[in-house]
Subunit: 148 residues, 2 copies
C-alpha cells in the first residue's frame, strides 16, 4: 500500500524545486493522482500563479502518475519527459490542484506490456490544473520510461 506522505517526501528529496513550490501528493486511487500546491510560493508579477509553476505542476502530475503505477507494481524504472505542452486557460488566484489519470485500462496494459518486452515505453499523459475546482490549465506530457 503506497503512503502518500512517502511519495511527497520522495518528490521533495529527488526534485528539490518541488519543495520550494510546496507541492504535495494529495490523492491516489490507483487510477488518478492529485497534486496540490499553495499559491504563495508560486506567485508571479500579476499576483496569480506563475506560468512556470503551472507547467511544472502539470509535468509532475504526469510524472507522479507513472511513478505510482511503477511503485505499486514494484517495477524499477527511470521516467523522463520528452515533450511538454501547457495551455493556460485562466488566471489562478488561489491554491492549485493538478490531476492526471490513466486514460484507459487497455492503454495501461499496452504500456506495461511494452516496457516488459522492450525495457522502454512511451506514454502521453494529460494533466488538468484546477483552481477552486474550475479548470485553469491543461498539460500534455510525453514521457519515456526505461526499466532497469
Amino acid at each position: 500500500m503506497v503512503q502518500l506522505p512517502d511519495v511527497t517526501a520522495y518528490l521533495h528529496a529527488e526534485i528539490a524545486i518541488t519543495r520550494a513550490m510546496g507541492i504535495e501528493v494529495a490523492a491516489w486511487d490507483g487510477t488518478t493522482v492529485t497534486l496540490a500546491a499553495p499559491l504563495a510560493p508560486n506567485l508571479n508579477h500579476a499576483d496569480t500563479a506563475f506560468g512556470g509553476s503551472i507547467s511544472t505542476l502539470g509535468i509532475l502530475a504526469g510524472y507522479s502518475l507513472l511513478h505510482l503505477i511503477f511503485l505499486e507494481r514494484k517495477l524499477s524504472t527511470r521516467i523522463l519527459i520528452q515533450k511538454s505542452e501547457t495551455d493556460f486557460l485562466r488566471p489562478i488566484d488561489d491554491a492549485m490542484r493538478a490531476t492526471a489519470a490513466i486514460s484507459t485500462p487497455a492503454a495501461l496494459d499496452d504500456f506495461l506490456d511494452t516496457i516488459q518486452r522492450k525495457r522502454r515505453a512511451r506514454m502521453e499523459v494529460e494533466s488538468k490544473i484546477l483552481c477552486r475546482n474550475v479548470l485553469a490549465a491543461t498539460h500534455r506530457g510525453l514521457f519515456v520510461a526505461m526499466k532497469y
Copy 2:
C-alpha cells in the same frame, strides 16, 4: 540603460520561484536575452536538470525578452503566457543558459504598433536552452501583453 542585476532582482522579487531556482539575467544586447541557472537547485531524480525547471527557464527567457523590450521603451504593460511548449532534446548535467531573441525587426515593429493601437498584442517567442553551449531543449511561448 537597463542594469542586468536590477532585472534579476525584479524577477526574484516578482516571481519567487526564480530565486529558488537561482535564475539570473546574464546578458541583453537589445535583441537577445540570456538567462543562466545553476544545476544544483534544479536537479531531478536522475541527477540531471528537472523538466519543470527547463520549461520554466524557457518561459522566463521569453518573458524577460518582452519585459526588457517594454522596459527600454518605458511602456507599462502586463505580460502573460497563453501557451508553452518544450521539447527536451538531451539530458542537462551542468549549469543551463536560455536565450530568447527578437525574430525580425519587422515582427517587433508590428508587435509594438499593435500594442500602441489596440493596447493588447500577442507574440510567439522561441527560447533555446543550452548546456555547455550545446542545444538541450527548445521552448515556444505564446505571450500576450496588455498596455495600461
